[in-house]
């Protein structure tokens, strides 16, 4: 299986481990990830405003590259995933945005959301299958109690992301079970961590992130996993005792990779 791969800015810098382990785990699972050539930063957050076109263009370019390569584009970072999927939905379903973006880019053949955007987790679930991953696990994480933290970017808006049930998701829990660990379901796993308020109001972030970690701890979790570098940062900085990891780190470990 070959997929286009969009790492995004953070995976090239602060979250190198998220990137490296994703690539190695994919390779072990027989998946080839071809990095999108000359990719640009997605902008970090989806521009919600109806009249913002320029800020959506870098995502459109990535999507067009995936269309050109004729394969789904896979992301690991929740934020990149959120931006790409939502911009793709605009290109498909919002004729005003789609028309203006295509004019900006001077596309001879207009891009109309033809590319398929997949999160790495979706790729594992829908293209590989969690049962096949379970077969590939050589070092099952038996006895570990792991809590999944979804945050907001993977799930919402539910209709566009179509990632999982936005209020009661199961994909990361199923992933955890496939690796042989026990999944801890706890409250606030789909509530916001405080995100970019980290820059100006750490107390606010701490309040939100602590609620998440306390929930996981009360549920008996020994670690929390996430797909988002900013979630990871916020959860780690709020000083909980529970380690917060990228989901790819667990996959890497369970597949017996060094």
């Amino acid at each position: 299986m070959v997929f286009s791969y969009y790492p995004g800015c953070t995976l090239r810098t602060k979250a190198k481990e998220l990137d490296r382990k994703a690539r190695l785990a994919a390779k072990e699972l027989g998946i080839e990830l071809c990095e999108v050539p000359e990719w640009q930063c997605c902008g970090g957050c989806y521009p919600v405003a109806k009249d913002e076109i320029a800020t959506k263009l870098s995502a459109v370019r990535t999507l067009m590259a995936a269309k050109e390569a004729d394969r789904p584009v896979v992301t690991v970072c929740s934020a990149c995933h959120n931006v790409l999927k939502r911009v793709n939905d605009d290109m498909k379903n919002d004729p005003v945005i789609s028309d203006r973006a295509n004019r900006y880019l001077q596309n001879e053949v207009p891009y109309q959301g033809e590319a398929e955007v997949l999160h790495f987790l979706e790729m594992l679930r829908d293209k590989v299958g969690f049962d096949r991953i379970a077969e590939k696990v050589t070092k099952p994480l038996t006895g570990r109690k792991i809590a999944a933290y979804y945050g907001c970017l993977l799930l919402r808006p539910g209709k566009v992301m179509a990632f999982d049930d936005p209020e009661n998701p199961t994909i990361i829990e199923d992933f955890i079970r496939a690796l042989g660990a026990e999944a801890v379901v706890y409250p606030y796993r789909n509530e916001c961590c405080g995100a970019y308020l980290a820059l100006e109001d750490r107390d606010s972030v701490k309040k939100k992130s602590s609620a998440v970690l306390n929930g996981a701890k009360a549920g008996g979790a020994d670690s929390v996993i996430t797909a988002c570098p900013l979630c990871l940062y916020n959860l780690q900085k709020c000083g909980g005792e529970i380690p917060v990891l990228y989901f790819t780190e667990l996959l890497f470990e369970a597949l017996g990779l060094e």
Partner: protein, 128 residues
């Protein structure tokens, strides 16, 4: 800008129809930043509909919404309050000299673990 133009601007940027609101307050019942806001999500909907944009623009509440979309996801009438808050914020920072976050101020806010994602997002949200 005049009040009427401001309202039209906010409605155009957001694409939201505040008249769909049935005033149930579910958005404010679910907002994770509620306690940090002077005006709450349901008030944004109500005040935009009434054309009271300037008090919203002057309020720090517009920098407290994290666009987590909990209110959008759970609104029974699909009013999408977060999009309105974003539109009010843009109406402010699109004006010259009204950036909430200035590049010069950033280095002091960083630590070595801060992911690029936070900076990029904050610049998108707070500055033009």
């Amino acid at each position: 800008m005049e009040q009427k133009n401001l309202k039209e601007t906010v409605l155009r940027i957001s694409g939201v129809n505040p008249r769909k609101c049935m005033k149930c307050g579910k958005c404010s019942g679910t907002c994770p930043s509620y306690d940090e806001m002077e005006f709450h999500p349901h008030q944004f909907v109500y005040m935009v509909e009434n054309g009271e944009i300037e008090p919203l623009m002057a309020s720090k509440s517009i920098y407290r919404c994290l666009t987590c979309f909990a209110c959008v996801e759970r609104c029974p009438r699909q009013v999408e309050p977060a999009k309105l808050i974003e539109a009010v914020r843009l109406t402010v920072i699109r004006q010259q000299g009204q950036n909430h976050l200035k590049p010069d101020a950033i280095p002091a806010l960083l630590d070595e673990d801060m992911p690029q994602q936070a900076l990029v997002t904050a610049m998108r949200k707070y500055a033009k």
